[in-house]
């Protein structure tokens, strides 16, 4: 029951082929446990997130659409960027900033772009996908979606990705996937890729109508309604069927940085 995946480790350059089994990972013919690896994000391109793409989140927000400052419901996919300082990996710590009580856990599926794509039709969109991975779009809770949420979403380490990329051939029906979020091993949220406002192909179509997605970029399918929160000491594990589990522990930001250097 092994399946092939691609991963990146701190000791390697580029992506490595691994084989994922129930209790071990096979890499270069050796069988190892997950914690034997120093996992890095398997994604190297730009990370684009999508807002209001889970139907439940959109429905819950719909009474606001006609009010100021929104005035109208959204027409095009609403995207945001998780910049490079946010990129984090499996089994690494996420720091909760000083002065922030708890952070949102936005469990989502990441679609890895395999070929650069512009203005594609939905029926052809999956040709440009390399595979899928798990993402935790950590955010400082915010009520308003009016202005870009840089201060809420662009904190260091706020985007764990991984552990690996599963090739699309392994997941012929991504719309059927379920996303399970566990806090300290207790199940706290379940969402389904079926619940998307725009399915994965439709999202790729409507995004690439206005911008190119490059090989290596990552498109997040959406953030859940009512995301759970994590506080210092919690361990969050996000599991997606047929992909795996992305696990991170939340710690207190305890850095005194002067002159750009950690001390």
């Amino acid at each position: 029951m092994l399946f092939r995946a691609k991963a990146r480790f701190s000791s390697t350059i580029g992506l490595e082929d691994i084989f994922v089994g129930h209790s071990h990972i096979e890499w270069k013919g050796e069988k190892l446990t997950e914690d034997a690896f120093d996992w890095q994000s398997p994604v190297s391109g730009t990370v684009y997130g999508s807002l209001l793409n889970f139907q439940e989140q959109k429905d819950a927000f719909s009474s606001e659409f006609s009010k100021a400052p929104y005035n109208n419901p959204p027409e095009r996919p609403i995207l945001y960027i998780k910049p490079r300082n946010t990129i984090n990996a499996h089994l690494r710590e996420v720091a909760i900033p000083n002065g922030v009580e708890a952070v949102e856990i936005n469990a989502t599926l990441g679609v890895v772009i395999g070929k650069t794509v512009t203005n594609v039709r939905d029926e052809n969109a999956l040709e440009y996908v390399e595979g899928y991975t798990i993402v935790n779009d950590v955010s400082v809770p915010h009520e308003s979606f009016y202005r870009p949420a840089i201060k809420q979403k662009a904190r260091d380490g706020f985007c764990p990705i991984g552990p690996w990329i599963v090739p699309k051939e392994n997941l012929p029906n991504p719309d059927g996937l379920m996303i399970w979020t566990f806090k300290n091993e207790e199940l706290i949220q379940v969402t389904s890729v079926k619940d998307l406002v725009r399915s994965i192909p439709k999202l790729i179509q409507d995004v690439t109508e206005y911008m190119t997605l490059a090989k290596g970029d990552l498109l997040l399918i959406g953030v859940p309604h009512n995301p759970p929160v994590a506080t210092v000491g919690d361990t969050i594990r996000i599991e997606i069927d047929q992909i795996g589990s992305l696990e991170n522990r939340f710690v207190l930001e305890n850095v005194r940085i002067a002159g750009g250097e950690k001390v």
Partner: protein, 251 residues
């Protein structure tokens, strides 16, 4: 010193300005008309500021914000000097924005205003086009307005910070088809460069080659297919760009 990245003789080259000419790192001199100019910096995170000049904020019916209005841009938006920017058909309002681009020189976290310039490596010129037809009030300015391919010409030169005495007192200007349309001074920024570095680094790490586009003064007008747009900043450079239509992209 002024640096550029250009393509010629079948390769990409680092170049510097020597006596007004372009000298490649391998010693050859090239004519500026015979080269392809690339963005002068291989950008990391690209930050941009909205409403960071009080006169432009009032021009588009906003009061200047109490806190910087920051948004991010992807690498798909960048292109070099003499490039072509796409204007989709049927849009009514596409405007240029002449902006001072600040390039971060080293990792910066929790930096105070007083030491902020230590974390700057230099400057370049950017034109942060916007297509206002696509404005929606979610994470505004939304990516459909600002993050389209080719919307952010940048260059021609990366100018080391030592060449610029006071980046907070530089003239900015835009010519469309040779006619002066926009004029301002960086001294009129609402949030100045040291403040922006302190602000951003107070909650996130800035890294080498991250770029901050610091906003535009008033005087932004509609541009159409065929227009030649030149944005310039005193002491840093003039960046030329041409607006092209959908037919060029087979759309």
């Amino acid at each position: 010193m002024k640096h550029a990245r250009i393509a010629c003789f079948g390769a990409i080259h680092e170049a510097t300005e020597v006596n007004g000419g372009i000298k490649l790192a391998d010693g050859r001199f090239v004519n500026e008309k015979e080269v392809v100019w690339l963005p002068p910096v291989e950008a990391g995170t690209i930050f941009a500021l909205g409403l960071n000049y009080a006169d432009h904020a009032s021009e588009i019916s906003f009061k200047a914000p109490d806190e910087p209005l920051v948004f991010l841009k992807g690498p798909n938006t960048l292109l070099g000097h003499n490039g072509e920017t796409r204007r989709p058909r049927n849009v009514e309002m596409m405007h240029y924005e002449c902006e001072l681009a600040v390039v971060i020189g080293k990792k910066a976290r929790n930096v105070k205003c007083e030491e902020a310039y230590q974390f700057v490596s230099g400057y370049t010129v950017a034109n942060d086009y916007a297509i206002r037809d696509y404005l929606e009030n979610y994470y505004r300015p939304n990516l459909a307005v600002k993050n389209r391919d080719t919307l952010t010409p940048i260059g021609p030169w990366f100018v080391e910070k030592e060449e610029i005495d006071d980046p907070m007192n530089l003239k900015l200007y835009t010519y469309v088809n040779g006619e002066l349309k926009q004029e301002g001074s960086t001294k009129d920024m609402v949030f100045d460069i040291p403040f922006l570095i302190e602000y951003l680094s107070s909650f996130m790490t800035l890294n080498e080659n991250d770029i901050i586009l610091t906003g535009t003064p008033k005087g932004t007008v509609n541009v159409v297919e065929g227009d030649e747009v030149v944005v310039g900043i005193e002491g840093i450079g003039e960046l030329r760009n041409t607006i092209v239509g959908d037919s060029v992209f087979a759309r």
